[in-house]
Subunit: 170 residues, 2 copies
């Protein structure tokens, strides 16, 4: 959800669409890196929904649209941020979209959401372990390898959340 990322950026300071693209490449690019063809229409939608205000200025002969988040936008952003992290089975790094903005959430709530996330990942891991048991004898080596990758990857993510993130927070 590009729109929420942009809203999150505006929590820090006012920006133009161009600024946001720069900012993205310096911060979220590992897990979200939207193109201008996605940023500008998103900004327009955020404006239509009444979550942001924009100020048009002309600087060095160039039209500049500076966006700022309003009260309604902040409420919407915080509502999104404090709702459960939906970890995708096929892409754990999707969880970072929210974790990235956890400075805007009370510590205890962040920890609660991360613990919930760890639990979800653990369920994914267990379903893969079950699958592995079922399939162990028949599957070809590469099929088994990719299964193992999944299991190890879930382990890595849980370990990272537990040992690195939560320990760092307390």
């Amino acid at each position: 959800m590009t729109e929420y990322i942009l809203l999150g950026f505006l929590m820090e300071k006012d920006m133009t669409g161009y600024d946001m693209k720069q900012h993205m490449s310096m911060s979220t690019s590992y897990f979200v890196d939207a193109s201008f063809g996605s940023i500008y229409p998103s900004l327009k939608r955020l404006n239509n929904k009444g979550f942001v205000a924009l100020k048009e200025t002309i600087e060095n002969g160039k039209l500049k649209k500076t966006y700022s988040i309003n009260e309604q936008g902040k409420v919407e952003f915080l509502k999104w941020l404090s709702s459960p992290i939906m970890v995708s089975r096929t892409d754990i790094s999707s969880a970072l979209e929210k974790i990235f903005f956890f400075r805007y959430l009370p510590h205890e709530q962040s920890i609660f959401l991360i613990e919930q996330c760890i639990h979800d990942i653990d369920r994914y891991k267990n379903s893969l372990l079950e699958l592995k048991n079922k399939v162990d004898h028949e599957a070809d080596p590469f099929g088994l390898c990719t299964l193992d990758f999944g299991i190890d990857c879930y382990d890595f993510a849980m370990h990272w959340c537990e040992e690195y993130l939560i320990n760092k927070m307390r």
Copy 2:
């Protein structure tokens, strides 16, 4: 690319669209798990392109369309499989799409592609390390955390390819 996954399944045996969905949930579901709304149109396209043949039968009163891959389809699949793995910066597990089918490739070629893939991931990792140096002083803790996740995740993937995959293959 769902179409290539389906083509890959047909390398093993003839199947219906329904079979492929089952097969997916038992094998590739960790990194690819397409819905029927994606599988059936893909199968139609593969047929239009002349990569598969289909045989319609009626079994227990139900229409059944059994697909099989033809020579042209095999050529296309192997062409895809032997081309460089395009690892996404935001989703390393996308590499599994090809690795899963590496039993259809000569060992040396698989190893070459994996080594190339490791190299690409290493470049991603280095760009994140550079970014971290640039940003280390100013960024907030969670921003730094997600950066670290990226770096660690690339490390995990490379380590897995190197130590687990390639070692297992020799």
